[in-house]
């Protein structure tokens, strides 16, 4: 499965690891904040209408 | 005391002056120095320990006047002085909050920034260690300076002037430790000196600062 990365295996995997981690982190933060704000807003609208 | 510490941290975070700011300032100084130097790369590793220490010191310096200045101006320092909390405790709480929001992040980031200045990873570790031992002294000495210049509105420059000479020993020993490490020489003596300065500051400065605060509020 894993391709042969030769003598630079560490560098390449670290580069992919770090980047994907950063991307995952920023996606996670955006989605989490989006969810919490959305929930807070629907709650607030519900309270207003109630 | 814990409450005051917690309040100061909360205030720092709220006003956007939390953990990140000192760090980025540190980064900027590290970027500016090679830019200001000629494009000669070889000199860089040579100056790295000094530059990193100096950057940490300046990042510390720039936030010093917040430590007491804000409370003095809005009158809450007066109120704190009439509260059951002794002024020495006020000083310690505030210096500790300052260290947590500036010194600690700086120490942790230093090895990474060291890479930008061609510092080896081993020397980077010593850098981190020396900053961990030294930044408490920077915060304590700085907060002490801040008590002296309380009455001077926005006396940032004056404060730096008072504080910088007091920072010299810490800077010299700290930078020397890293420098020795980067040359593969032993670095325990300067590191112990840095620790000694921090401990000495904890032992003496609360009393000096308490007195200075009392004088300034009079």
């Amino acid at each position: 499965m894993m391709p042969d990365l030769g003598e630079y295996a560490v560098e390449v995997t670290v580069a992919y690891g770090v980047s994907l981690l950063a991307l995952a982190l920023v996606c996670f933060l955006y989605i989490r904040r989006s969810r919490s704000v959305k929930r807070a807003l629907t709650d607030a609208e519900a309270r207003k209408d109630a | 005391m814990i409450q005051l510490f917690a309040r100061d941290i909360r205030l720092a975070v709220r006003s956007g002056g939390g953990f990140g700011l000192a760090l980025i300032f540190f980064l900027i100084v590290v970027v500016l120095i090679p830019l200001g130097l000629s494009s000669d790369q070889s000199a860089l590793a040579l100056v790295a320990p000094g530059v990193l220490w100096l950057g940490a010191l300046l990042a510390c310096l720039l936030s010093l006047d917040r430590i007491f200045g804000l409370d003095y101006e809005d009158g809450s320092l007066d109120l704190l002085a009439t509260s059951p909390l002794p002024l020495e405790a006020v000083y310690i709480a505030k210096a500790a909050a300052h260290w947590l929001t500036t010194g600690l992040p700086l120490a942790l980031a230093a090895p990474v920034l060291g890479v930008l200045l061609n510092l080896s990873f081993d020397a980077g570790k010593v850098m981190c260690f020396s900053l961990l031992l030294g930044t408490p002294a920077l915060s304590l000495i700085g907060a002490f300076g801040a008590t002296l210049t309380l009455g001077v509105k926005r006396g940032g420059l004056l404060l730096s002037l008072l504080v910088l000479p007091l920072y010299v020993p810490t800077l010299i020993f700290g930078a020397r430790a890293v420098h020795s490490a980067s040359l593969g020489q032993p670095f325990d003596v300067p590191l112990i000196m840095v620790l000694a300065i921090s401990l000495g500051a904890v032992a003496i400065l609360p009393f000096a600062s308490g007195a200075a605060l009392r004088i300034n509020l009079r």
Binding site: E7, S34, V37, L41, K48 | I24, N118
Partner: protein, 256 residues
Amino acid sequence: MNSTSKSKHLWNLFWKLANPKVFMGWSGRWLPWLSWLTVLLLGSGLIWGFFFTPDDIRQGSTVKIIYLHVPAALMAINGYLLMFIGSLMWLIRRQHVSVLAAKAAAPVGMTMTLIALATGAIWGQPMWGTYWVWDPRLTSFLIMFLFYAGYIALWAAIDDDDTAADLTSVLALVGSVFALLSRYAVLFWNQGLHQGTTVSLTDGTKQENISNVFFLPLLLAMVGFGLLFLTLLLIGTRTELRMRRLKVLEVRERMQ
């Protein structure tokens, strides 16, 4: 539909999106599709790049880093551009959506900058023998990172939303002028080691000195990164818009 009326249609849509309600509706409709497309393209681009491309003769397997490095660098620059345009539109036409889009773009752009810097640094070790050199392109990227940081920090430091929007926009405009200036200053200061531009996006065709086996997955990754950027931008802008609404409701609630 001929092409002029099509572009006119897009142009109209663009301005209509400045209305928060239209924006919420439109983005809500497209977001799921966009997300799946992002996963698909980014995933296939990176998998292709990582698993199914040959090594370079000189660079060995490190050439695989290009599928992260170049798209990230590209998106970092685009993010800055977007921030600039959003700020400008806010100052001229005072459309909240544009400035909130600028606000939402900044953290993504900063992450992209960080990825470009990190992958570049990791790449530098085997290629140049050092993690970091003060090469002009690298240096200007670092400076761009600082501009991002300043922009985000200013947003964070100001309580009032409209004041923050105005001030950060002024900063973005003035900052862009100085960013350009810095780029020239840095070029003047130092000649570097970094690769020249070999991929040109203007005509979208491959250039002579990069072969097809590398170029196609790279193109895919670039499109993937672009879509990811767009997705996060939409999510972020929607969050900011909702946040504004939430604040109004909270103030009102407290008053009752």
